[in-house]
Symmetry: D2
Subunit: 367 residues, 4 copies
Amino acid sequence: MLRIGLVGATGIVGQQFVVALQDHPWFELSQLAASERSAGKTYRQALTDSSSGAFRWYCPESASAAALDMEVRATDDLDVSQLDLVFTAIESDEALKLEPRLAEQVPVVSTAAAFRMEPDVPIFVSTINAGHAKLIDVQRRRRGWKGFIAPQPNCTTIGLATTLKPVYDRWGLNLVLMTSMQAMSGAGRVGGVLGLDILDNVVPYIPREEEKVQQETQKVLGSYADGESYADGEFIRPASFPVSCTCTRVNVLDGHTEAVFVSTREKASVDEVKAAFRDYRSGLEELGLPSAPCQLIVVSDDPFRPQPRLDRDLHGGMATSVGRVREDHALPNGLKWVLVSHNTKMGAAKGAVLVGELLSKQGYIGS
Amino acid sequence: MLRIGLVGATGIVGQQFVVALQDHPWFELSQLAASERSAGKTYRQALTDSSSGAFRWYCPESASAAALDMEVRATDDLDVSQLDLVFTAIESDEALKLEPRLAEQVPVVSTAAAFRMEPDVPIFVSTINAGHAKLIDVQRRRRGWKGFIAPQPNCTTIGLATTLKPVYDRWGLNLVLMTSMQAMSGAGRVGGVLGLDILDNVVPYIPREEEKVQQETQKVLGSYADGESYADGEFIRPASFPVSCTCTRVNVLDGHTEAVFVSTREKASVDEVKAAFRDYRSGLEELGLPSAPCQLIVVSDDPFRPQPRLDRDLHGGMATSVGRVREDHALPNGLKWVLVSHNTKMGAAKGAVLVGELLSKQGYIGS
Amino acid sequence: MLRIGLVGATGIVGQQFVVALQDHPWFELSQLAASERSAGKTYRQALTDSSSGAFRWYCPESASAAALDMEVRATDDLDVSQLDLVFTAIESDEALKLEPRLAEQVPVVSTAAAFRMEPDVPIFVSTINAGHAKLIDVQRRRRGWKGFIAPQPNCTTIGLATTLKPVYDRWGLNLVLMTSMQAMSGAGRVGGVLGLDILDNVVPYIPREEEKVQQETQKVLGSYADGESYADGEFIRPASFPVSCTCTRVNVLDGHTEAVFVSTREKASVDEVKAAFRDYRSGLEELGLPSAPCQLIVVSDDPFRPQPRLDRDLHGGMATSVGRVREDHALPNGLKWVLVSHNTKMGAAKGAVLVGELLSKQGYIGS
Amino acid sequence: MLRIGLVGATGIVGQQFVVALQDHPWFELSQLAASERSAGKTYRQALTDSSSGAFRWYCPESASAAALDMEVRATDDLDVSQLDLVFTAIESDEALKLEPRLAEQVPVVSTAAAFRMEPDVPIFVSTINAGHAKLIDVQRRRRGWKGFIAPQPNCTTIGLATTLKPVYDRWGLNLVLMTSMQAMSGAGRVGGVLGLDILDNVVPYIPREEEKVQQETQKVLGSYADGESYADGEFIRPASFPVSCTCTRVNVLDGHTEAVFVSTREKASVDEVKAAFRDYRSGLEELGLPSAPCQLIVVSDDPFRPQPRLDRDLHGGMATSVGRVREDHALPNGLKWVLVSHNTKMGAAKGAVLVGELLSKQGYIGS
């Protein structure tokens, strides 16, 4: 069993990590870290509001008694010498300082944005770009780290990139336009979305979200020339098609909905695209990664699907649901569809655990 | 005062008509019609559920005592000889049969889709295409009617076409892509959206909506060659840019939100487009139409606006709110913005009243 | 295996029955019935809207392929000679005609209100009044039926009666006052709660609900004198404490929340009552009923619990969650608490399946 | 014109004060105060988030340009020598320190709980207990203050006390039980209700709320013996009937709904009670207070009313809506009803302005 550290254990994504790691066949949660305020408490105490007695647990799944009895450390008190892998579920500015310090000693799989756009850092979606893992060798060599930083993309990028991948591979892409209707859990709890602001409403802006999705999608689907940097210092050449988004917030708990319009290079029929979605394989099937869904993309012919409440939990929240695949007559070789992807499962904690599983199989962790 | 008949008086849009016509300086509501079930009752009785005593009134504004005391007729019992204008707030299949019968005698301004795509029928948005009114002369001549049918477009079309108009006029348009997040009131009450289906959810499909918006937007912004039909038998030449939509339903009472992406023919800067929105005038200002908003398009620089709950009621629900105007780098000469438009006010009843006002000023009604 | 017929298979509660009966160790779903409209179709076809292609399935759990491939009959075409037990999930007026016809031949466990207040009909909550089963013998004798009708109480009654039972047994009750905040699924889909009516709102009235809860609670907790009718012709003597309710509807999918105030005959401390809740046993534990929860009442010390979204699914939706147990100083021996109970699981389909299991063990079914 | 200071100007209630004071015929908003962070900015700047550009205004009504251009002071920099009256919209712990300091110099009408239960402090609801004003003379004498502190009760108390008043006056009360379903705006914005916590949910607890409502209702409806303290040192003898509440939070923007059960001393019929509600007058009608509603209690015979979304804004949010008045058979002389009261208008800012108007007419302010 690999010994796992979890930083940011008390937030929404941190709790999803605890759930994703319970009963994990390869990973054993061995150190929990959170802010100073929680240090020295059991996880249960750290989740309990001392004045009101409220127990602040936000997942539909329960935490195990074992997890609730674990002691929470201050982040600075993590004993990385006893860890094989650290997952981080913290804000970007905190990650900027913490993650390099950890990565000197131990692999870090991160849900934070801080290092995603560094040239020697891959943005991993296990089921899309497993081959980018080799960039970790470059990263270690350049930075002299024993560990490394392997971030996931933004939760909104994951569903989009998952559906673009089989289309891009087979027909090529000229451009991608997307409007998202994002769930509240993506905003977390500290500074999260107030009921007063979202009831009977749509909020048409999520700070910094569109830029992330636009850049990260290109990098996730980019090509990696195995150790050689390109002339411009980049190791990963971003996919060349532009991505443009409008990201909005709607009154939904979990599950991001995205309306996608694309123009392909080669003409693709609706039926061909649906088949490509259904047949999409990551190539990792034989690795037996415990958190991988048995189907990556689920296609619906019911025009009223996908819906976030009905489809976000498909295959343990790890599948991307797609529907309304149809021709778009406004763009050359135009196609459009709607997707739903679980933003705190595939889009955050459980997706990061899957990255950990893949890197472990590839020999980057724990050897 | 012009004598007004209202068909479909008990539904959501019908009630909005009653509100829009209360205290109207030119129009006097003189006959109310609804289904057989309501015939012979007062409007108040027709709105009161006999078994439970519930009063089924859905507007934030109250109905006047005078309106509530009016008798409701069966639709077939309308006395059109005593009417100068009929507004209809009924389903398309009912309109298909009823409206021509009425139009033989009396002008009909309709919120139904039934006749929108007929070659000799204009689709009116008073503030966009007042010049299309002359097609009414053709319609009357061809059909031998004393009256005419003048339909409004779909509620989703109106906000979109309103913001496209000043851009199209000045810079031209290559293509328009739009994703809507539509309010529940658009679905009405009979067969309306169940709370069970929309809570914690987005529904990615509204039957027949996308086709309507795509076609109607082109016709609303099309050009009319004054009595001459084009070679293909069309009188109105649709605007040539293609429109492609994905229309979704969200958990909002009133106010459709639309995320728009366009490619213009000539390059336009963000500031120029914002100025064009702010400066947009219908040319009808000096007519003093009672229901016209004092500003047609309200532009916000706050990136979190427009929001349907906060902005739908601007200028009596007759203005279109626009925000997040910015460059789109994926499309040539790309621009994107978000708009909010009130779907049962400007988008239905009150917008239709404005059409009535315009046609009255233009001499098509009541002379 | 007992052969089960299900009437009303396509509604919300009917679908919950299908889920509750899937993989059931004793019961085999062998005939599905619904309205004429569905007759002759597979269950999957009956749930699919022919014009839009929408699949109308409302449970979080999926239906098995076997269930979806079953043929649906018209209710009149049920072959009761091939059934050991029928569950009904239909409206009261339909039940009034249908259930006696079925009961001539076969046991009927009903979720409808039609026969609940008949003197020779018990209202069953398996975990409260298993002893009332003997009234079935009287019912059969008096009516000459081979089968019988055994209705569940209203979904709102079940949670209330469950928490009252241990208090009533040990300390007696003088009176019960309750305000409910009920979920939308309780209203079903035909004529169900519109999103327009419930968003940003509370509806303070549910027709006929309060009367049901008030009467049924007394009957469920009443005493049965084993075959002897009381002087007034009643077989079950209702519990003597009055129950008064205000029943409201809130914007919640599933799970009724109830704020309860009681006055006990003997003084009970808060700690004693909490212990009585925690220790409550139905006495059926050794019967091994497959749908029985491992704990009937779950007590929370977190003052922010129970909450419908977080607690409705405890123990498969079959437990009643209680919190905020505290003294009420306004009533003599006053106590107050808040409970949450799943209205379509314990409160309808799965609760009825549990009734079927109990009656089967008691020898009333299938022998 | 009286010169008004407003403390806590940027919060929800503070903004409601700004709206309530715009165009006020007697009061002129002359100084705005908020936290240090806002000091020196214009009100518009103080409401604008500097990083995102968002304008944090939460009322449906707009702020006037004049208000938005006012300078905001730090609370310590209020120049009370230039003020005739201060309204406070701050948390209780801040009020505890600030209000006595202000009251040394100037009258303070407060929405905070800090001083409500002091013996020489009245809790004012202008329309219920105008006679308690004389306690201000005692307060000034005892404390040697030039000004005074006059707090409003909690927003939940106001609707309850308003409906109890005419019943108590005419028939007496033995006990009151109430379950509230409270709106989110009552929780404010700092530490306010997260969308994640309230969507598809009810939260059955609001810290410290029940105690406030229980005590304050008795004091508001208590009797004041004109300058003489009672033996126990109290000046106001609380009404003797006990009040017991369960306070819950529901997914509603504004408007508290309360389900009330009472036992009266003398028997009252439903019709008599409805008449007493309809006929209730504060006795202040001839004072012409600008913020007083033309009707204090609006009674509905529609059993589905009152509903918070439909009824909260009646008479400018200053009326209490009552419906479902009916007998309660569980309590001796039992009655029950449901009420809706606007929690930030009558229940906070605008109600406090009405208190200011009354005290000004009574000569306690500005002379």
